[in-house]
Symmetry: C3
Subunit: 346 residues, 3 copies
């Protein structure tokens, strides 16, 4: 794939400064770009790279005033990052091999249906009673149980497992190896100290525009539904236990675990390796920093929480600073004790 800078500028509605005939074959970050690459500059912090980059062309803002001569050809457009993102999307569509139709052998139960424009990869498995929409892509080794519903334009990646009765909305992405809807970790203790599995008859509901990361696990509800609401993005290796609810447009980073029946509000951000206890709730717009532990319900919106017994992150950071000098602090208390006036004699 090769285009001239002039062709790209034309598509983006931008103006060219420099050699419009220069050839571009790929996209790169401005700090890493070499010959043949097209980069962008949106954040002023990166401007120094403009004068050192090996890129053949750089997309910049019309307002940018050059402080030095530059070697790459410039394309000036009003929103450089947005323009670059469009090129990324175009590049991805052009380079990824589009797959449609059915590769053999693939398995689909006779009572299941799938809409037009679908892909069913070799060794994909679809059980009975499933209803899959249009342009649904089922990659190789994906497993779809019985009575699963998947909306239009959703993608189930290689080796993802969607257990029976799961409901998936439109434009969802379930990445490779994710397990959605398997039985939750519910066991009733018996008189002799052993445990007996409690039947899990609920399901998982992923609303529209949800993304589930690679090798993440989402358990079905004991009864009712484990729910990930519209637009929520769940990263790799995240665990969502039975009956968890994740709010709209909430983002959860890798390796975070949410215990049974916990509820995360809308527009929350949970960083990586966070843990959240069962049956507690997080208010909307809560931010939780990496490795924090949420043990109690948080009712006030918009807080930032930190720490393994999480509380306000600024307070936590101040406490962390003192924690480092605890041995010295203890020694200072010892010194004070030694230096105390002798107790008055009676």
């Amino acid at each position: 794939m090769e285009f001239t800078v002039g062709q790209i500028a034309h598509v983006l509605g931008g103006t060219v400064e420099g050699d419009a005939t220069a050839a571009v074959t790929g996209l790169a970050k401005i700090e890493e770009a070499g010959p043949g690459s097209l980069a962008f500059l949106a954040n002023a912090k990166y401007e120094p790279y403009l004068y050192t980059t090996g890129a053949t062309a750089v997309i910049v803002s019309p307002e940018l005033i050059l402080r030095q001569p530059v070697s790459p050809t410039l394309i000036r457009v009003t929103e450089p990052y947005l323009a670059f993102t469009k090129l990324l999307e175009f590049y991805q569509q052009a380079t990824r091999t589009a797959r449609r139709g059915v590769e053999q052998p693939a398995f689909m139960g006779e009572s299941s249906t799938i809409g037009a424009g679908h892909y069913r990869g070799a060794f994909s498995y679809i059980g009975e009673g499933c209803v899959l929409g249009e342009n649904v892509l089922i990659f190789p080794h994906a497993y779809i149980g019985d009575r699963v519903r998947i909306g239009d334009n959703s993608i189930i990646h290689a080796g993802a497992k969607i257990y029976s009765d799961t409901v998936i909305g439109q434009r969802c992405v379930v990445k490779a190896g994710a397990v959605v809807g398997t039985d939750g970790f519910g066991f009733a203790p018996q008189a002799d100290g052993s445990y007996k599995a409690i039947p899990q008859i609920g399901n998982v509901v992923l609303e529209d525009d949800v993304s589930i990361g690679a090798n993440a696990t989402i358990d079905c509800a004991t009864m009712g539904s484990t729910v990930v609401r519209q637009g929520a993005k769940i990263d790799n290796l995240v665990q969502l236990a039975h009956n968890v609810e994740i709010g709209r447009h909430t983002v959860i980073a890798a390796q975070t675990g949410i215990a049974g029946s916990a509820k995360v509000g809308d527009y929350c951000v949970l960083a990586g390796q966070v843990g959240m206890a069962g049956h507690v709730s997080l208010a909307n717009k809560t931010t939780v920093t990496a490795q924090a532990g949420i043990g109690k319900t948080v009712r006030q919106e918009g807080q930032i929480l930190q720490g393994s017994t999480a509380f306000d992150f600024k307070q936590n950071q101040r406490a962390q600073v003192v924690f480092r000098r605890l041995p010295e602090l203890e020694q200072r208390v010892v010194n004070l004790e030694k230096n105390q006036p002798a107790p008055e004699k009676l």
Copy 2:
């Protein structure tokens, strides 16, 4: 599936108060139940829901005295929760599509055998020299290596991988995507700073009634066996390294990791995201709270441990409380220092 309340009461050996002809089509929690649902009330804490629930019927104790009129029909039985669990099991059996026989294409080495009543899903793989018992269910994309033994009534879910020489008991469940018996993380440092893999010739043994969670990983032993003893329940995304031993009826929640050669006693409970160092042991009946780190052997039975360098959880919680006000505590020490009597002049 639709039954009358009277039919259900008859099966459970209970008595009906209200409309015995009301139709029930599903099971639900009392706080979420709507028309057509059957719920139960076992815990007095939930009694208020009895007067507001939308359930068509609720299973209650014979002793329950109503404080208000109720709209659902009541079924009175001596153990409401136990009765409800029986219905859950019945519901699950009735709604889950039972699979038996072999879906094609499936692969099984000629020297392997499987007992009566089995299921081998499409795209399941069984190597050579395996001996699988009766009523063993092997779901699609499951991988079974060579010389694996699996006892009667065990279930290997979709995409689970059971490596060669693994021994699995009766009534075990290995959930989707779990990896059992792969080579452990054993590398010998070389003189040049590189590492060389140490051959791992041991195996994994899962005794009877063990459950392994989705995408959990259990490494084989370097020599000998990594062992999960009878009735232990391991949750999703848990890591058990080479030569680990997990005691009988011990429960380990999601994302916990146990390093090589560590031993967990019987009847222990490890919460989520716990870490345990290599070669240490936990006494029987130890409880470890979420995100704790166990770095040393614990010999006294029955303790509750907390913290990333774990110690007694009550002591830990008191320390956590003071941790939050460390900046103020330090300031109080500064004030004391300022306020000290001047040292006596010599």
Copy 3:
């Protein structure tokens, strides 16, 4: 497989003390070994087991002086552990069923090639435009996307997923269920609070001699490459985000997570459940203890770091000791305050 002690000593170039005709059928640790086992003694700490072991034979150093009579036959060689490792390798090769050729059904795109000596397991999938070297083993249910390159003697285990454009060197091992090269967790926040996926057009590069653990996840770069350099060993359930770089001969234990664009130096050791923030770097030869959190760049080589806001591990351990007695420390401050001299009256 049965050998006499004399035969084994002959192969190892060692001398026999005791019954050279004794039969050995397996390898075991000296503390666990029973009749028919061959064990080794390399570490003086384990010498007491030499006098109690049930092993039929033990490999020991020529220098070892017996303090008591021993029951096993001894094989004396100059490097007992090295000799034993050779036997481990031999044992593993002899007992693991070597697989070559293609098991049916397997899928490979017409434009892909694979070298001599390969294995393609049943239900393995290889897309278009892939170039796989000699003696490459692709186990059942492995998924290889498009344009993937894999060097000679590399092994892709059961159900591992290698996404398009990944480059894998020679002698690499990707264990069961690992996901390499799936889209990173990159989302652009929109004006309405929702998120839009940023196309991820980069790839993953695993250099020679890299090992990736079971169910680990390694995201492709947004642009450019996520790189794991020569000889690095990555354990089970580890998460490496987009554009991460892991240095040569670095070891990362299970369940550790490295956020986007972070860089780990050469010869580092990260223990289990470590978290590392995005865009930070670790100097060469850094050691990070279990469950630590790295939030800032570490420039000085050779440090050992501990704690969820990680700092020097000795300092951390001293602070942890005081942390446990924080309630008492606070009480001592209260006592000091009570005992202060009254402020002087003006």
